[in-house]
Symmetry: C2
């Protein structure tokens, strides 16, 4: 597949050099075949992790939507900073336990909150009650 | 905990109204006790999902670091757009299967790549071989 076919996928990166690492790379360069095989195995593990995370994100958004519906129904405000502080401190703690940089856990939290806000806005623009999706949960 | 203690945690959101939803809310307002209990149960599920995702992110960054080390050792470029295209298409497909908006899966991919880039830069600034952390894996 030529670079030009997929430029829209990576506008910021199109001028970077690349090394395609696949079966062909190993066949053309037998001296790197061992490293190529190790990278292929690691990539399969990365893909398995991504499958699990995408499945969990699907469940997470189902839960936060339910929270949003309940809050809208009862007239609760979207924001609950006590809950947010609890989540920030909790994610920091479990990141340290898992051997993950706590900054990455905080970025993850911001990612899911930002996405909820974006969906919230889109629903508001389409005339649906924005309370149905919850920013903070 | 007063709002002022934690203003640094949420500079953009400090002026929003909030509804703290906890045991106290239910005791003060018995008519919403049922909704408060449902939200508490959903929040526990959300927290369980977050624990699983943080654990998986910890494993993911271990794998991508290993890929980065292998690439640096063999003199491979960090970028591999064939791999990136594969990941984009694969995440789109599994998101649809999982009932997740594919845009969220793409945001997740951008989040992990952006974080890898940030770590890459930080290591470069500290004089360590930036190839040790891999942007694309």
């Amino acid at each position: 597949m030529s670079d030009s076919e997929h430029d829209w996928l990576r506008p910021e990166e199109e001028h970077e050099t690349e090394t395609v690492i696949d079966v062909g790379t190993a066949q053309s360069n037998p001296e790197v075949a061992d490293a190529v095989a190790k990278i292929a195995a690691l990539r399969q593990s990365i893909d398995n992790v991504d499958t699990a995370i995408v499945s969990l994100l699907a469940e997470r958004f189902k839960y936060t939507s339910q929270v949003g519906v309940l809050k809208a129904r009862e007239g609760f405000a979207p924001a609950d900073y006590k809950r947010e502080d609890y989540q920030i401190e909790r994610l920091h703690r479990i990141a340290v336990d898992a051997g993950l940089d706590p900054d990455i856990a905080e970025m993850y939290r911001e990612f899911v909150v930002t996405e909820a806000k974006r969906r919230h806005k889109r629903i508001a623009e389409n005339g649906v009650d924005p309370g149905a999706l919850d920013v903070f949960a």
